[in-house]
Symmetry: C2
Subunit: 367 residues, 2 copies
């Protein structure tokens, strides 16, 4: 990014290159299309209707979201085919999900155990609705997802109970905990899902939609032809974690933070972004990633950001060569782009000469 463009922004801020975004969208869409697989991108990465529209415009069938409130924001912006890939627990969420289901063309909900499925069925019955559900299975992520021993009774319950209609299974692998080998990990995702699908389809007596695949595993999962749908999120922007762990090229990083040097000291400089700008969820110097810095500085790869307070980032140089002065503006690629976007109120989307200021409408939509 040249200096004159950088100086158009008040830092810290997140600048998105729309040309790279379109290229990233096109590449993943082609991968899905070429393998007869549906792409339903996860919008937790950008939380921004404008960018979701680019994804759907390029061929995505609809979108995936994490939370009801996030899905409501997207429905308010015209999206009518949404999968909330998160088990909903609590009376308020079930009420909101029933209401949302009435106002869009297709809403798919998620369950991974009977304790969620039973209240969901009761809520559907109370509203005279039939809610479409997918069952989540755990393919090694170690978070939500039915385990094999609980799976068969859950499928049987959903098949029999009024108010719920089972249309698919889903899983999520992601980088969660580190993937030494994305291809091997995708293969395990495929094998495990195949096992679950056989059980469920035997009970149901029909084919189900099989959804999986994150940005790290999505391409391999699509090529397996064992899934009908993939749900990557990060691919629209990429981030340093995707570069280091999965080889995403640096020239395909579509979102960069800009920070300004505000204070220069003997061994470090201070930039105007701290932990309210740079995500700290991947631990530095620790397994599984052993990151050396909270950001990668493409213009000055020798820089390291290892100490953060809320609004201060202390930047050092591995070779001691900082060569920075007050007012210098640095591009920084965060380790994990999804929480980085969630810290911004706005994105700046650059397309040639055109700069659009875009509210992150789904920001902080946690419920």
């Amino acid at each position: 990014m040249d200096k004159s463009l950088k100086e158009k922004f008040d830092t810290p801020c997140l600048v998105v290159d729309e040309e790279i975004v379109r290229e990233n969208i096109r590449e993943m869409q082609n991968e899905a299309d070429n393998n007869g697989c549906i792409l339903r991108p996860h919008i937790k990465t950008h939380k921004t209707p404008y960018l979701a529209k680019l994804q759907v415009g390029a061929g995505a069938c609809g979108i995936t979201s994490c939370k009801v409130s996030e899905a409501e924001v997207m429905a308010d912006n015209g999206f009518d085919d949404i999968f909330i890939a998160y088990p909903l627990v609590g009376a308020r969420k079930l009420e909101r999900a029933c209401a949302l289901s009435k106002r869009i063309k297709r809403l798919i909900l998620a369950i991974d155990n009977l304790a969620q499925a039973e209240p969901l069925a009761l809520a559907a019955q109370a509203h005279n609705q039939v809610l479409e559900v997918r069952i989540e299975v755990d393919c090694g992520g170690g978070r939500t997802g039915a385990e094999l021993k609980d799976f068969e009774p859950l499928v049987t319950f959903v098949e029999q109970v009024p108010g719920l209609k089972l249309t698919g299974l889903y899983t999520f692998r992601g980088l969660n905990g580190g993937i030494a080998d994305p291809e091997g990990s995708a293969q395990r995702e495929v094998d495990l899902m195949h096992q679950y699908a056989e059980i469920a389809e035997r009970i149901c007596g029909r084919k189900l939609e099989i959804s999986g695949g994150s940005t790290p595993t999505g391409r391999e999962v699509a090529r397996s032809h064992a899934f009908t749908e993939i749900r990557p999120g990060t691919y629209i922007f990429n981030d340093y974690m995707m570069h280091k762990e999965c080889g995403a090229p640096l020239d395909r990083m579509a979102a960069k933070l800009l920070v300004t040097v505000v204070s220069v000291h003997k061994d470090y400089v201070v930039v105007d972004g701290g932990c309210k700008t740079f995500p700290t969820d991947p631990l530095l110097g620790q397994p599984p990633y052993y990151f050396e810095s909270y950001a990668y500085f493409p213009e000055k790869p020798q820089l390291r950001l290892t100490k953060l307070t809320e609004e201060h980032g202390m930047v050092t140089a591995v070779d001691g060569n900082l060569d920075l002065k007050v007012g210098d503006i640095l591009e920084a690629i965060p380790l994990h782009i999804c929480p980085a976007v969630n810290l911004q109120n706005k994105l700046y989307i650059v397309d040639g000469e055109n700069i659009q200021e875009m509210a992150v409408a789904g920001r902080g939509m946690l419920q």
Copy 2:
């Protein structure tokens, strides 16, 4: 918090106990008053005008903020005495600061080196303004703040240049990097500031305002009678870091996250808050804090939250005794409350039977 109150909220969310807030405010205000010291609380902790009004209503002289955009939000809500305790760099910020200075009674800006002071003076001259400034000095935080060798020329410059008026010095210690000994740390803050103040007051030939003191060091700094003002922030809520490092009592934790158990597994349960709900800036198991969990669960102290993805928190128990079911709602005290508030769109402020939903108006105001 009893079950019927918990069930009034859609989780994850941050619930504030106004009675404890008032007690925390009163206690710090008394400490300042009893020592003839001004209290100018840092509003980065809550970013919420309603809470800043409680602080000013109890006797605070005004407020401290980090960023111009954060100060603008507070000015829009009637605050007219604001110190932006952060060096402003970049033409946009200087323009905004000049405009803000015209519309409130008192705006104090910050500098720590000539490279910021010179453009600030030029901006003031261009607007025919005199901007009030304080010089930041580093008392061991290792971030911004003039070092001794650069301090005298900076004071001399500010005294001579048209457009700037030096009215004080400030420093920040906080817990930044860990304080083994809050009293000793406060004493070092006092001693170092005394040295800087002597130099500056000799050059200026008048007394300056001397501002310091965070939540960890504020009480000791006030008692030293060497400072005219303290700027603690976290004290309004407290957090687990303040409990563990500085002995803040658990019954004075005024802000708690509520999360719901959504999925139960053999060795862990999943709650509906991940790294978009729980701050991860203090590293687990690492110096200086060696935290064992991203949150403390006061109702079940045996619980540990050590693995987070964006919206999933994996909770284990040190004694293996989870005893949790889907739908259980847990209170959680985050390690660091300031970034936790910045992740929420709203706070729920509970005062007896009354629950107010309050927008975090300064959230994400990074510029």
